[in-house]
């Protein structure tokens, strides 16, 4: 590449122009509608009650994030509460999912017992559990956390089982013939072996869990949480808060799934050279 540029320096100039066109093509479709929306709101072409201008949404997000919001520091608190719930639910899902996945992948009785149960439970839409959980544990964080755990576990179980199926049986024979105990095999052979798959499962599971969390918060959260924030705002018809919350939900979901865990996944692919087909 650099050699080519050195040989044909004249090609550098169009490539810079191309880069500008590239950036325009990438940013344009996002920025242009926003500009048009802002303009339409200013000129009174659209109903500003239903479609408040982007600048007003940004202003609302700013005031709600500060001490003058209602409640004060509202948005950081909502985000923190949602992320805490997501983290707690994912921790449960990872622990439970790994355990069940390993039992299914490694033992005959595990396959025999859990496969049918999972195929019976998986078609149930996750959020349908919310009212039952609300009655069982009451309106508090536990209901939303359990919904998150349910939403993420199936994906994690599936990737763990797929990872174990890909592992070489000889690795177990070697470990066994060297006299490793089942506990040692679990910690030294199975866990490192399925780790790359587990991370892929966690990434996909986090995507499902985030969606489920927002919906569960709308149904079940008594206070705080992004889902609660936008649903509460719809009762007061404050459209700017709703739009701001929707933008935050989209951005956070994207960052969580693609940037945070995506980076982790890329790092494991670099280290172990395993690419998981999902």
């Amino acid at each position: 590449m650099s050699l080519q540029v050195a040989a044909v320096p004249a090609e550098q100039r169009p490539s810079r122009l191309e880069r500008v066109a590239d950036a325009a093509l990438t940013m344009g479709p996002v920025v242009l509608p926003l500009v048009l929306w802002e303009l339409a709101a200013w000129m009174g072409w659209i109903n500003t009650f239903l479609f408040p201008s982007p600048s007003r949404i940004a202003a609302t997000l700013w005031t709600q994030s500060g001490p003058d919001g209602n409640p004060p520091w509202g948005i950081p608190l909502h985000v923190a509460r949602s992320l805490t719930r997501l983290l707690a639910g994912m921790a449960i899902a990872i622990a439970l999912g790994t355990l069940v996945g390993v039992v299914i992948g490694m033992t005959r009785w595990g396959r025999f017992i859990f496969r049918p149960l999972i195929s019976a439970l998986m078609p149930v839409p996750t959020l349908a559990w919310t009212p039952v959980l609300l009655l069982a544990v009451g309106i508090d964080d536990r209901a939303t956390i359990i919904v998150v755990a349910i939403a993420a576990s199936f994906e994690i179980i599936y990737t763990i089982v797929a990872g174990l199926e890909m592992m070489n049986v000889r690795v177990f024979w070697v470990a066994q013939s060297m006299g490793a105990t089942p506990v040692q095999i679990f910690w030294r052979v199975i866990l490192p072996g399925v780790l790359p798959y587990l991370i892929t499962g966690v990434r996909l599971g986090t995507g499902y869990a985030w969606r489920a969390l927002i919906a569960a918060e709308m149904l079940a959260a008594s206070s705080y949480g992004l889902g609660f924030m936008i649903f509460d705002a719809s009762e007061y018809m404050s459209m700017d808060v709703i739009y701001g919350g929707v933008v935050l939900i989209a951005v956070l979901g994207y960052l969580l799934e693609n940037v945070l865990i995506g980076r982790l996944e890329a790092a494991t692919i670099d280290k172990w050279g395993v690419r998981v087909e999902a």
Partner: protein, 290 residues
Amino acid sequence: MASSEARVQDATAQTGGVGGGSTRLVALRSFAEFLLPIVVLLLLWEAGVRTGLIDPTILPAPSMIVGRAWVLLDPSHPERSLLLTHIAASLWRALVAFAIACGVAIPLGFALGLSPIAYRSASPLLSLLLPLPAVAWTPIFLVGFGQGDTTIISVCFLGAVFPVLYATIRGVQSISPHSLWVVRSMGARRSDIFVRVLLPGCLPALISGLKLGMAHSWRTLVAAEMLAALSRGLGYMIFAARAYMDVSTMFVGIACLAVIGMLVEHGLFGPLESATVRKWYGVSRVGGAR
């Protein structure tokens, strides 16, 4: 996906049984083995409630749930059956949303898949919208349309449209330009190219996208109905039962949601798949619905 694994298991059991005895018997046996853990769990659950280990106001016994379902179904007056009314309302909403989503996503997907410029300019917007849960739109539609079918169908539409759109784009992009050039150089008309090359070429991806879209529509429906339904629908039935602490009705709703979801996947898309993709390409399995 787990159920498709079970199908694969059945298939291997059948081929293995050719030498060993009656294939039918082997298939039946593996089906019984499949059901055994579920039956055992249900029996344990029933026994737990009967002996008082489980509180029936939180987790009613399976027999109580079946009894409740029978009352709700009211088989002597099928036209006034409460459960059937809820199911019909839910199915209607999910199917309308799915149909609109297909009507929007398939043409758009073809346009974006065929034109690289359009794809490049739309993809940042799409990757922003994709991670957004469809349910998050509910408050906006609630303010705009109020409670009712319009809001629910709009939310389900947003749940279904993205899987179908992505699958169509991927399917169209996976067709090699060579096959297009070949057909064009032989003088094929545009309509021929569409029917003979583009459509069959993207069909495997498209059908798995449709399957996923319908599954998303059905899963989103429950949440949307809980938040925005006025008086009918399975999601409404489950959520309204909360006010009366009627857990049996909730479990009836949950079971209906799961069974109908599975029936749609296997009863509607299974035959569609075997009639098209498997017949033409010999592909045994195309994607999984989640």
